[in-house]
Amino acid sequence: MSMATFNAHPGERENYLNKEYGVGSWLFTTDHKRIALLYLISITFFFFIGGFFALLIRLELLTPAGDLVQADTYNKLFSMHGIVMIFFFLVPSIPAVLGNFLVPMMIGAKDLAFPRINLLSWYIYIIGGVMMLHCMLTGGVDTGWTFYAPFSTNYSNTKVVEAGLAVFVVGFSSILTGLNFVVTIHRMRAPGMTWSRLPLFIWAHYATSIIQLLGTPVLAITLVLVVAERALHLGIFDPKLGGDPVLFQHLFWFYSHPAVYIMILPSMGIVSEIIACFTRKRIFGYSFVAFSSIAIAVFGFLVWAHHMFVAGTSVYAALVFSLLSYAVAVPSAVKVFNWTATLYKGSIHFDAPMLYAFGFIGLFTMGGLTGLYLAALGIDVHVTDTYFIIAHFHYIMVGGAVMGYLGGMHFWWPKISGKLYPEGWARLAALIVFIGFNLTFFPQFVLGYLGMPRRYYDYSHMPEYQVLNVLSTAGATILGVGYLLPMIYFLWSMRYGKPASDNPWNAAGLEWKSASPPPTFNFDEEPVVTWEAYNYEELDAPHPQEAPVAR
């Protein structure tokens, strides 16, 4: 795709970035685009903290003996890696950054429905983040991100209450973002932007928001109960106090399984946008892809106990949850097939966002297919709580969600920053991430089937596991480089990048009809939509009639 269509009037136009300067103009902004950037900076900070923990974990596992850090330190590292990556990076990542920036623009709105609540959600995130940092700096927590009782409530002597409350607080930022999106998508669509004309990115965020609204409160309740048992000795989960530890797992997974879809659905939305643009086609089976997001959100709430097949639940409950887990796999498979079919008779360009989208499909396919192993009761018994499951969910949540996030960052970076990123470096980074990721996590499938349990600090009695661990650690260092590169060249491009035109990809979607970077209220005139989503045929017509909708 040509990136040579440079902005005709660079620099001087007023936009959301240059309209006001100064710290106050950012900290008190209600502009969804500025709040998106506040979120971007915050989650990137936590991503690198979580990544640093991951690196230390992989270095410890390079040798079988526990020799780099102490056992307690290792337990805190994997706990805080999980807590930071899930609650402070993955859950907010795409919705709070790209969703925040793009949901109003894609539907032709000036802002989200509740701009002040949007800012509030960022402040809540920051409060939760500071609480988590405080927890980490004053000793940390060693319960795993899963906070399983009664270990968390009565046995761990680390900062469980502090960590639990930090996650409790940050959950509200997620709820508020979801609330804002639901109302915005219902009420703020531009004239002519009917539900069937919505970009699939919007459908995905709509489904995600419903999960955030319905699921997150249950997590909040669960964490309050943990704090109540730990601090007040109310008997809820610990049998010694008359509680039931399996109850904790039901409550925890009732949120935490759907949370996987909070992480992956927005990424699927991004992939749909990218594939449409770089094949120059309407997405194959638009309505099936749209409704599969809703189906995933609904079924996603009915499969939580598939995390508990060996936890002491009844055989019959396990049967039901196994069956439902296969039901949720169908809409995921439908999406993959539709994306693949979209390539058919396309006109395919291989720019960096598309490489990330290809990476997403490949890695998500493998992550999804290994889910079939885990949903099979007889196999789950053997591989659950081993490295097999670690590999599986990293393929979904890192291979899937983070690939999509990076693809989206590249795709919309010209719109967000008004600058072009260096294409060659970006393609290289996509390749490095893909290779590094597979080298890190593929060996873990094998390790898991061979029986290596997760959360093991020391495997000196099982030296047979070392070779695969060494491969995995080697992969992790490559992956680390792959993640550092985009951060470097994105920052670089802000100063030295070539100015981007309003629509460098010649992409469909209202956000591309605005300027790059967009003005504060996105569109000078309210757009009126008269075309279907992904009208690439018109865009690529020999004499494109530039509809003067925006500007």
Partner: protein, 312 residues
């Protein structure tokens, strides 16, 4: 067991391998065949409902096959054969305590004979642990406050890893041990040493020391139900429910006697919560089981009649 799990695993490897190959081939072929060429525009295709149905229904069918197969394997894993040798397992931070029905006690090591079904009756003294023997493809969480069970039959002599698979604190990765599978003759030799008598005999002593027999008399005159032949039998409760007297029922009735009152009896039994170690509880359970097992023919029949008459 390992064979059953591996067979399904290999089936899944083949199925998912073929699907992966199909998708990746399509991706790569389309990417190459339909790469951008000047003046060759993309062909707009709306979609195809028959295709959508095809690639929804076929995977669903395949999924159902996997589901049923997985469920069958799981049922076998979760259902110990009736005549299994029993071993009581008590997990604690960070060790495994194992006690054979015959009385041998072990720590972090379990000796079993080759070819015999071994049922594990497990509980935890503190947090949740998980009994995991990768070579046997078995794993079961071990919970405080209740029994969970699993079973295996070792087919080859040797030493196999035993892991704790549920994160349990500082020395989680040190909570490991081994299952030593011995040939029958060697196993007999091993069994002949170090026993303090069968577990049920220990239980009988505990039963006597605590004065249980005062109420739980072996005739029909006690203030508590007769426990002869109780294990494995349905029990009618005051509230009209019927429960099967399994390990968890016995455990609960000792620690929380008010939870399930047998029909026709008063809630007069005191709780033994905090007065018994997990090992003593296990011994009591083993003893009560032995009351059903000793006289297979006539003993059981009389016991159930006795119980039946009491219930009336």
């Amino acid at each position: 067991m390992a064979g059953n799990v591996d067979a399904l695993f290999i089936f899944l490897l083949i199925v998912t391998g073929m699907v992966t190959l199909l998708i990746f081939t399509c991706l790569l072929y389309f990417a190459a065949r339909y790469r951008y060429r000047a003046n060759v525009p993309a062909e707009q295709i709306e979609g195809s409902t028959p295709l959508e149905l095809t690639w929804s229904v076929i995977p669903l069918g395949v999924f159902l096959v996997i589901f049923v197969w997985g469920a069958v394997v799981y049922f076998k894993e979760r259902t110990p054969p009736r005549d299994s040798t029993e071993v009581y397992v008590v997990a604690k931070q960070w060790m495994w305590k194992l006690e054979h029905a015959e009385g041998q006690r072990e720590i972090n090591e379990l000796h079993v004979p080759v070819g015999r079904d071994v049922k594990l009756i497990m509980t935890s003294q503190d947090v949740i642990h998980s009994f995991f023997v990768p070579a046997f493809r078995i794993k079961q969480d071990v919970l405080p406050g209740r029994y969970t069970t699993t079973w295996f039959r070792a087919t080859k002599p040797g030493t196999y890893h035993l892991f704790c698979a549920e994160y349990c604190g500082t020395q989680h990765s040190g909570m490991i041990g081994s299952i030593v599978v011995l040939a029958p003759a060697q196993y007999e030799t091993w069994m002949s040493g170090g026993s303090t008598g069968p577990l049920s005999a220990t239980g009988e002593k505990v039963f006597a020391e605590l004065g249980c027999a005062t109420c739980h008399r072996s005739d029909a005159q006690g203030r508590g139900p007769n426990l002869q032949g109780l294990f494995g039998k349905p029990v009618r409760l005051q509230d009209g429910r019927t429960v099967v007297a399994d390990e968890n029922y016995i455990r609960e009735s000792i620690l929380d006697p008010g939870a399930k009152i047998v029909n026709g009896y008063k809630p007069v039994m005191p709780t033994f919560q905090g007065l018994l170690s997990e090992e003593q509880l296990n011994a009591l359970v083993a003893y009560l089981k032995s009351l059903s097992a000793t006289k297979p023919g006539e003993g059981n029949a009389t016991a159930s009649t006795a119980q039946g008459s009491q219930v009336e």
